[in-house]
């Protein structure tokens, strides 16, 4: 009788130990993943708070009677290096593809974005919007020369 009780107790305790190990392992993994996600979010928040740039110059010139090329000069006035390929450029509300003179847009440095064959004649006025990778956005207007 005593041996039966001991054996049953041992089986239950072992299964309890194994079960607790499962839960502990899962909890540790979840906490690690969540910790990583929170750290990533804090990093994103830091980047957002420290991101700033200005449109330092816009040059637009006619290439045909109805199209023009556009050159946009940006200056990074924040403290975060931005990825040039992840900028979004919208002219009159439409997003266009562009080329850039450098991939990394370092603080206090400049970046040039070039767009070609945009629709518009000489002396036409347009609205420009530039959006950085983390959603920081700037507006300006320009006239085609």
């Amino acid at each position: 009788m005593g041996f039966s009780t001991t054996a049953a107790f041992a089986i239950i305790m072992i299964s309890l130990f194994v079960s607790m190990s499962f839960i502990a392992g899962e909890l540790v993994k979840n906490f690690n993943d969540l910790n990583l996600a929170v750290k990533r979010q804090e990093h994103q928040k830091y980047k957002l708070e420290n991101t700033d740039f200005e449109i330092s110059g816009v040059d637009a010139w006619n290439t045909t009677a109805s199209t023009y090329d556009l050159s946009i000069n940006l200056r990074n006035t924040g403290a975060v290096t931005l990825d040039a390929s992840k900028f979004t450029v919208m002219v009159d509300g439409i997003s266009y593809d562009f080329t850039y003179n450098r991939s990394n847009f370092y603080p206090l440095e400049g970046l040039r974005l070039n767009l070609t064959d945009l629709p518009g004649g000489e002396s036409s006025n347009h609205r420009l919007k530039v959006v950085a990778e983390n959603g920081v956005e700037k507006y300006t207007t320009f006239t085609v020369r």
Partner: protein
């Protein structure tokens, strides 16, 4: 012929082991379910934390294609989070002035994953009167963004 003392002990022992094993099996099964639940909840929370996006249209210049009927408006969304966003007609909900846009009037580019930092396009076919409107985009995890715009 009757059971001896050792026979009774064997029966008790087997009964105790069977009972303990049953209890253990129930315990392990329950714990496994709890573990799966914890994992799913953890992944959901992790996804929510890493998800962020923004409607980045110029609010006074919403692109429109008037060559189709009804006209097709384009809304740009930028993934500003750390996780890819699943952009499909079944995972994305678009409301214009509070009205849900049906799948038949919705087109997406890309129709799939939108990576962090990249721009996606939502094409909505509907008639909009001149004036102010509001677009709301809701992701599958409930994260949403809204933007007021004018036509």
């Amino acid at each position: 012929m009757s059971f001896g003392e050792s026979g009774v002990h064997v029966i008790f022992f087997v009964a105790a082991v069977v009972l303990a094993t049953s209890i253990s099996a129930m315990l392990v099964t329950t714990v496994e379910k709890v573990s799966i639940g914890l994992r799913v909840q953890g992944e959901n929370l992790e996804n929510k934390i890493g998800t962020d996006f923004k409607i980045v249209n110029d609010p006074v210049n919403i692109p429109v294609n008037n060559s189709v009927s009804p006209p097709e408006y384009t809304f740009y969304i930028k993934n500003i989070g750390t996780k890819s966003i699943l952009m499909t007609e079944s995972t994305l909900t678009v409301l214009i002035d509070g009205t849900h846009i049906s799948d038949a009037n919705l087109r997406l580019d890309p129709d799939g994953e939108l990576k962090p930092g990249y721009l996606g396009q939502i094409f909505v076919r509907m008639n909009l009167a001149s004036g102010d409107h509001k677009v709301t985009v809701i992701l599958e995890n409930g994260f949403s963004d809204s933007m007021k715009f004018t036509i």
